[in-house]
C-alpha cells in the first residue's frame, strides 16, 4: 500500500482568476495553490525562456515562452480531469504536475543539455523537492505532496493513469504544444480538434481511452504531430542555429578548461564548465538573456573560432547543410582531413545532425514487450481496440521511424574541393 500524508482541504480563491490565451481562449484558475504556483519566482522565470529555443531563427513568430506553454498544459489538464471522477488530491496532483512539468528547463535546453550533460527533468524534480518557493507552496497541501508531484513528472508515481495524462503518446503536454507552436510559428500543420477529443475521453480499466467516434479527430492529432516534427521542430535552419549554439558552448567549455583569459569572464557558466554539481540557485539564475549577453560580448574575444561562432549566431550567419548518407562513413573521415588541411577545425565547423521521429507506436502481438502505451478506442460494444487497427491513416505511419541526416558546415569558409566532396563528388 502506498503511504500518504494527510491532505489539507485545498483553499479555493474568492473568485475564479481567468487569463486570456490565444490558443485555449481562457485559462481558468480556481485553486489558490495553482495561483500561488503561477506567482512563484521559479514559475515566473519561465517567462524568460523561449518554448522553441532557436526556432525563431526560422519562424519569427515563435517567441512564445515556456510559461505560456505551461499555462496551456495546465488548462488542457483542467479540462481533462473535469471529466474524470478523480479524488480531489489526484485532481490537484494532475493540475500541479501539468503546470510544473517544464519548470526545470533552462535556456536553449536542446543545445545546452547535449554539451553540459544536464537533464531538465532532473532539474524539475530538484526544484519541486528542493528549498524553493514552489516546494513550500506545494507543501501547503501536504508534507509529501511535492514528492508526489515530482514522482508524477518523473513517471514513478504508482497510479499510471495519472502519469499518462502528462506523459504518453496522447497527453496534455503534446496537445498544448502542437496547437501553441502551430499558432506562434504561423504554420497550418499542427491543428486538430482538441475540443472534440476532450469531449470523447473516457476512463476504462484505469486507462484513458477515446470513444470510437473520436477516431478521425485522433487521426488529425497524429498526423499533425508528424507534420509539426518535420516542418517545424526539425527545420534545417533551426537545427543549424542549434548546431552553432552547441559549438559555442563546446568552445567556451574547452577554452575555460584550458585556462583561456576570457575578455568577458563567464561567471554564471563556470559551474557548468567544471562538470561538477551545480547549485540550484545558480541554475535558476541562468536565463536566455544571460546567454545572449555573453554571446554578444564573446564576439569580441581574441579566440577566432569562438568569436566567429558567436557572430554567426548573433547575426544569423548560419551553417549551410547538405543531405548525407551515413553509409558513406569513409567520406566523413576524408572530410575531417580536408578541413584540417584547409586550417578549419572540423570539431567546430563540421557536424552531422540526425533528427528522427516515430509518429505513433504500439505493441504488436508476437513482438517483444514495448515501453509505449497504445492509444485505445472504446468501440460501440464496449471492447477496446488499438487505434491503428481501426484507422488506415494511423496504420500507414505507425511504427515507422523516419530518419534524416544532414551535414552542417560554413559555406563561406570551405574550399571548392570540400564543397565538391560534400556534394558527394
Amino acid at each position: 500500500m502506498y503511504k500518504t500524508d494527510h491532505m489539507k482541504t485545498p483553499i479555493l480563491l474568492d473568485e475564479e482568476k481567468v487569463f486570456k490565451d490565444p490558443v485555449h481562449r481562457y485559462i481558468h484558475v480556481r485553486y489558490k495553490v495553482i495561483w500561488d504556483l503561477i506567482n512563484s519566482r521559479e514559475f515566473q522565470r519561465l517567462r524568460r525562456i523561449r518554448q522553441l529555443g532557436t526556432s525563431h531563427y526560422t519562424f519569427h513568430g515563435a517567441e512564445h515562452s515556456r510559461l505560456n506553454h505551461s499555462l496551456g498544459v495546465y488548462e488542457v489538464m483542467r479540462r481533462m480531469v473535469s471529466k474524470f471522477n478523480l479524488s480531489e488530491e489526484e485532481t490537484l496532483l494532475c493540475l500541479c504536475s501539468a503546470l510544473l512539468h517544464d519548470i526545470g528547463h533552462g535556456p536553449f535546453s536542446h543545445s545546452f543539455e547535449k554539451v553540459f550533460k544536464t537533464d531538465h527533468e532532473q532539474w524539475t524534480q530538484r526544484i519541486i523537492e528542493g528549498n524553493t518557493e514552489v516546494h513550500h507552496i506545494l507543501r501547503e497541501i501536504s508534507d509529501d505532496f511535492p514528492k508526489k508531484v515530482s514522482e508524477v513528472i518523473g513517471k514513478t508515481y504508482p497510479n499510471k493513469m495519472v502519469v499518462s495524462l502528462i506523459t504518453s503518446q496522447f497527453d496534455a503536454d503534446r496537445m498544448d504544444y502542437l496547437l501553441r507552436d502551430a499558432y506562434y510559428t504561423g504554420v497550418n500543420y499542427g491543428n486538430f480538434d482538441m475540443e472534440r477529443i476532450l469531449r470523447l475521453l473516457r476512463i476504462v480499466d484505469d486507462q484513458v481511452v477515446i470513444k470510437h467516434s473520436g477516431m478521425h479527430a485522433m487521426e488529425d492529432y497524429i498526423v499533425s504531430r508528424y507534420q509539426m516534427y518535420w516542418q517545424v521542430y526539425f527545420h534545417p535552419v533551426t537545427r543549424s542555429a542549434e548546431v552553432i549554439l552547441r559549438k559555442i558552448f563546446q568552445r567556451a567549455k574547452e577554452l575555460y578548461q584550458n585556462g583561456y583569459p576570457f575578455r568577458t569572464y563567464p561567471e554564471p557558466m563556470v559551474s557548468f564548465f567544471k562538470d561538477g554539481d551545480i547549485p540550484l540557485d545558480q541554475y535558476l539564475e541562468f536565463e536566455e538573456s544571460t546567454v545572449f549577453y555573453y554571446i554578444g560580448e564573446w564576439c569580441k574575444e581574441s579566440d577566432t573560432i569562438f568569436s566567429d561562432l558567436c557572430q554567426r549566431f548573433l547575426y544569423r550567419r548560419l551553417f549551410k547543410y547538405v543531405q548525407y548518407d551515413p553509409n558513406d562513413y569513409r567520406t566523413w573521415a576524408d572530410l575531417q582531413d580536408l578541413f584540417l588541411k584547409q586550417g578549419i577545425d572540423p570539431r567546430y565547423y563540421l557536424e552531422l545532425d540526425s533528427p528522427s521521429d516515430l509518429p505513433y507506436d504500439f505493441y504488436q502481438m508476437g513482438q517483444e514487450e514495448e515501453e509505449k502505451l497504445p492509444i485505445l478506442l472504446e468501440m460501440p460494444d464496449g471492447s477496446l481496440e488499438e487505434l491503428s487497427n481501426q484507422s488506415i491513416i494511423v496504420k500507414a505511419i505507425s511504427g515507422k521511424r523516419r530518419f534524416d541526416h544532414k551535414l552542417y558546415f560554413p559555406d563561406d569558409l570551405v574550399s571548392e574541393e570540400i564543397r565538391s566532396r560534400l556534394r558527394g563528388n
Binding site: 502506498y2 547535449k114 518523473g154 514513478t156 551515413p326 562513413y329 540526425s354 528522427s356 513482438q367 515501453e371
Partner: protein
C-alpha cells in the same frame, strides 16, 4: 559522427551478442551508471529505466546494416537477438571510440536475465533513496513482476560486485 551510435556498436562488439531489447536497454543503462561514457537519457518506464534515444539508435544501426537484429521464436513469446555485422566492424574501424575495457562487466551482465537486470537497473535508478524506499518502489511500481525481498538483496549485492569489475 554518430558517436553515440558507435559506442553502442562497440558495446555489442565486446559483448558478442545480446538477446532481448529489454536486456540491451538495461545493459547500457547499468554500464552508464558505472561511469562508462554513454550519454543517452533514461527515464522510468514500465520495465524500469528506458531510453527512447537508445531505442532509436539501435533501430538506426539496424537500418544502416551495422547491426543484425534477428527475431527469435521462444514458444509463447519472441525476442530479438543483436549482433554486430562486418559492415558495423568496418564502420567502427573508421569511426573509432574509446570506451575502456567493458568486457568483464558485459560478461557478467550478459549472463543474467532481462528480468533480473530490470531489477538491478531499478535499484540503480533509485540509488538516492533508502533501502526501505527502494523496496516500496519495487513492490508498488513493479507489482506485476513479483520481485521478492531476497531478489532485491541479491540486486544490491550484484551492484557491489559490478562496481569491482570497473
Amino acid at each position: 559522427m554518430l558517436q553515440e551510435h558507435a559506442k553502442v556498436l562497440h558495446l555489442l562488439e565486446q559483448a558478442g551478442e545480446v538477446v532481448g531489447r529489454k536486456k540491451l536497454q538495461k545493459i547500457v543503462y547499468i554500464t552508464q551508471k558505472l561511469k562508462f561514457e554513454f550519454n543517452q537519457r533514461f527515464q522510468f518506464h514500465f520495465y524500469g529505466p528506458y531510453s527512447e534515444t537508445l531505442s532509436l539508435e539501435i533501430e538506426e544501426l539496424c537500418q544502416l546494416g551495422f547491426l543484425e537484429e534477428m527475431l527469435e521464436d521462444k514458444g509463447n513469446y519472441n525476442v530479438y537477438r543483436y549482433q554486430i555485422t562486418d559492415k558495423g566492424k568496418d564502420f567502427l574501424a573508421h569511426i573509432p571510440v574509446e570506451m575502456g575495457n567493458m568486457l568483464p562487466l558485459l560478461d557478467k551482465l550478459n549472463q543474467s536475465t532481462a528480468r533480473f537486470l530490470e531489477l538491478v537497473s531499478t535499484v540503480f535508478y533509485f540509488e538516492n533513496l533508502s533501502r526501505a524506499e527502494v523496496e516500496e518502489k519495487v513492490f508498488t511500481l513493479k507489482a506485476k513482476s513479483n520481485y521478492t525481498k531476497e531478489e532485491i538483496t541479491e540486486a544490491y549485492h550484484w551492484i557491489e560486485e559490478l562496481k569491482k569489475l570497473v
